[in-house]
């Protein structure tokens, strides 16, 4: 039971983060807040992958050949880490593009609030 708890409790927090991020994206009126929500959403997924890759009694995936025979059980699974490096890059790229859009939107409508934006677009 405790084993199950320790093994799964991290996922609950990650899902909480994910829901917070979605909430920010969907219900916050300010566009910058939406972007912050987007960042939280993406990083929660990154945390999900990295947390799922962790392993008991294992070390970082940098191999020292002098230690003798290599046993995969002694090293943390490196594949999710690699995937998440890509995901981090994607998230910063998306943020950059979104900020450029925000500047254009502010230039055209002089507001970042969604309600006012809808008002001024008519």
């Amino acid at each position: 039971m405790t084993d199950f708890f320790i093994g799964h409790i991290a996922y609950y927090f990650i899902i909480a983060l994910l829901i917070i991020g979605l909430w920010g994206m969907l219900f916050k009126k300010n566009l910058v807040k939406k972007l912050i929500g987007m960042n939280i959403l993406q990083s929660s997924i990154i945390i999900f992958y990295v947390a799922s890759a962790s392993k008991y009694n294992a070390t970082v995936p940098v191999i020292d050949p002098r230690l003798g025979a290599i046993n995969p059980a002694h090293y943390i699974n490196p594949l999710p880490h690699t995937l998440m490096l890509t995901a981090i890059v994607v998230s910063v790229a998306t943020t950059g593009v979104a900020l450029a859009l925000l500047i254009v939107i502010y230039k055209r409508y002089k507001t970042l609030n969604e309600d006012e934006l809808l008002e001024r677009m008519k």
Binding site: K55, I70, A73, Y75, T82, V90, V97, A100, L101
Partner: protein
């Protein structure tokens, strides 16, 4: 309408928690992602990387070997994503005038 969205969001969270309970317990060496072979008998990737990375490319940092060689094409895509973001911001925010360089 807003209430409905909140309910939808909560339902989604509950669905995810239901799924998370069924995930393999974190950290065990015999989880599907940590095993040597998959259920179908095909070699699993992670164990192969840890075993052979040092031998096959003289590089102790396994993450670097996966990033740049085993799954190097992903990294090409990743770099392209960054480059793409640069070009996209260029497209959105810059104007090229006649006769002048940017």
């Amino acid at each position: 309408m807003k209430l409905l969205s909140y309910i939808l969001l909560l339902t989604f969270g509950i669905l995810l928690i239901y799924a998370a309970n069924k995930l393999p317990t974190r950290g065990h060496p015999d989880n599907p992602i940590n095993r040597d072979t998959s259920l179908a008998g095909t070699p699993a990737a992670s164990a192969h990387y840890i075993r052979n990375a040092e031998k096959e490319m003289h590089t102790p940092n396994v993450v670097t070997t996966i990033l740049a060689d085993y799954r190097g094409y992903d990294t090409l895509g990743e770099t392209t994503v960054i480059f793409c973001a640069g070009i996209v911001v260029f497209l959105i925010l810059r104007r090229q005038r006649d006769g002048s360089k940017v």
